[in-house]
């Protein structure tokens, strides 16, 4: 991917993020944080590519650590967010 295309994505996504997240009410700020944590576990994609790289053990080692940490983030983040959000009810 060309650098300028990546930079464009980066900048536009930041603007989008600001627009979206200012609309999240304070009541949901904790689930927002754990949920965005889970989403930032997208690094898992990079981790999978590193861990599945065949020929270098050190690369695979870092890949393994990355897969473990990112999976904790993804699984733990989505599950705990779901647990919290399920409690928000209106009587």
């Amino acid at each position: 991917m060309e650098f300028i295309a990546m930079l464009a994505l980066f900048i536009l996504a930041i603007f989008l993020g600001f627009e979206l997240i200012t609309k999240v009410p304070p009541t949901l700020h904790t689930p927002l944080m754990s949920g965005s944590n889970a989403i930032s576990g997208i690094t898992l994609v990079g981790a999978l590519l590193a861990a599945g790289h065949g020929d270098n053990q050190l690369v695979q080692g870092f890949g393994f650590v990355a897969v473990v940490l990112a999976t904790i983030n993804v699984v733990g983040g989505f599950m705990v967010t779901n647990r919290m959000l399920a409690m928000f009810k209106r009587k």
Binding site: M33, S36, A51, G52, A70
Partner: protein, 459 residues
């Protein structure tokens, strides 16, 4: 089955869209659960197509890593208590940063070249490692594994400056003289130490800001890893999370009337000597009993409950809900006033009260509830202190002057449930406790609330 890179890129775009729709769902409590599920689905799409990529040649390490990570993640998510959510989020921030750091390191070892590749790798390693060690310190402070007080040594700021300058220098060196692994490992070490040194001097009360900021860093680290790999999913998602953390950081700073620089590098102004606690409280503090409070509450039309970190500490959220239920059964109107920095992370009180099955439309933010205190008969403050201190409004010399507070003192009667007259995080006496319309109910938060409820039911 293996698929072409073009299809993989399309799938990443789908995943990124699902994340955006997911966050959009979080803008309303009603759609939030669905939003979270959409985001999880996006993650599944992104991971599955990655596994189909031709770049992956072996699966053993992946399978092992996913199993370990899933078990640990699921255990954490199901076991954690709602009072401990700040620690959990701090830990997840750290893991996110650590993952980006590890991915960038693996890419470096595979060999990155070109200006953009090396700078992005350096940035991902630097931000990722800082996020990892910084979050671990934040976790240790919140979990009380280490002292929550600011820690440091003379010249720490200068050392931090050297670490930052050294890290940037190392990245610059990697650009001009690629291939020197010692420089790379030096960068890793400097970044790890920097993370520790940045968070150690920050006190427990400022943790909401720190967690939000580290949340932002973990996103930016993921984005930087995306630049290394030329991966659109990582870039988009990372910057969304980066923006999210940054907004929360801003909100927290505004609610404490402090600048981010002040939180990160400064200590609060030491103007404590001007205010002597004994002078403020002497002879003016009225201690009350659960029976007396119950009597006042029985005739109250409107009651506002003001929770703080003390409610979380005492695990009193269920007792508070029971009290509210009996008041409502008595015909009173009950609402909750939530200060943006109540608790140890943004929205912490809301989650605790939601856990106790308090309806979310009764949880009011500061700007909504403040004009209503004058029509409030009783305000019950439980485990909150600095966020109710009228000095912030009235005393220009006070270190907390200008911080937005909940105007509980405007209520007809204020009941403060507290263990003692000890100061809050700001270390200041609170003249609210000595006001004519304030009753102090000393004791454990949960027990005191239970006693009031019993007295109301018996009365």
């Amino acid at each position: 089955m293996q698929i072409s890179q073009a299809w993989i890129d399309v799938a990443y775009l789908v995943a990124a869209s699902l994340f955006i729709l997911g966050i959009k769902g979080l803008t309303k409590p009603k759609t939030a659960v669905r939003g979270n599920q959409l985001a999880a689905m996006g993650m599944l799409v992104a991971c599955v197509v990655t596994l189909l990529s031709q770049k992956i040649v072996t699966f053993e390490v992946i399978i092992a890593g996913v199993i370990v990570g899933s078990v640990v993640g699921a255990l954490l998510a199901t076991r954690v208590q709602m009072t401990s959510m700040p620690q959990m989020v701090a830990l997840l921030n750290g893991f996110g940063g650590g993952a980006s750091f590890a991915v960038a390191s693996a890419e470096y070892l595979k060999g990155v070249d070109g200006l953009v590749g090396i700078i992005a790798t350096g940035a991902a390693v630097l931000i990722g490692a800082v996020t990892m060690t910084g979050s671990l310190v934040a976790f240790a402070k919140l979990q009380e594994l280490i002292d929550g007080k600011p820690m440091g040594f003379p010249g720490m700021k200068f050392v931090n400056f050297l670490l930052v300058a050294g890290s940037i220098g190392a990245i610059g060196y990697m650009v001009y003289q690629p291939g020197n692994d010692m420089v790379f490992w030096g960068l890793v070490a400097a970044a790890a130490v920097l993370g520790l040194f940045l968070v150690l001097p920050i006190g427990g009360a400022d943790m909401p800001v720190v967690i939000a900021l580290l949340n932002s860093y973990s996103g930016i680290a993921a984005s930087a890893a995306g630049f290394v790999m030329g991966n659109s999913a990582l870039i988009i998602t990372g910057s969304l999370v980066g923006a999210s953390g940054l907004i929360l950081t801003q909100i927290m700073c505004k609610a404490m009337n402090r600048s981010l620089t002040n939180v990160l590098f400064g200590v609060m102004a030491e103007a404590g000597e001007a205010m002597d606690a004994d002078e403020v409280y002497a002879g003016k503090v009225k201690s009350s009993s659960p029976d007396e409070v119950a009597m006042i509450l029985e005739t109250a039309q409107r009651v506002v409950i003001v929770p703080g970190f003390g409610m979380a500490m005492a695990q009193a959220q269920h007792a508070v809900r029971d009290l509210a239920d009996s008041l409502e059964a008595n015909g009173s109107e009950v609402e909750y006033a939530i200060h943006p920095v109540a608790g140890r992370m943004p929205g912490h009180m809301n989650v605790l009260l939601a856990e106790a099955e308090v309806s979310y439309d009764k949880l009011k933010d500061m700007d909504t509830i403040n004009p209503t205190f004058e029509q409030t008969d009783v305000a019950i403050v439980i485990g909150a202190n600095d966020v109710t201190n009228p000095l912030a409004r009235e005393d220009k010399g006070s270190p907390i002057y200008g911080m937005p507070i909940l105007n509980v003192d405007k209520a007809k009667t204020v009941v403060v449930v507290k263990r003692s007259l000890s100061a809050g995080f700001a270390g200041l006496p609170n003249p609210l406790f000595a006001k004519d319309n304030t009753l102090m109910l000393f004791g454990d938060g949960k027990q005191a609330i239970l006693d009031i409820t019993t007295a109301i039911k018996e009365g």
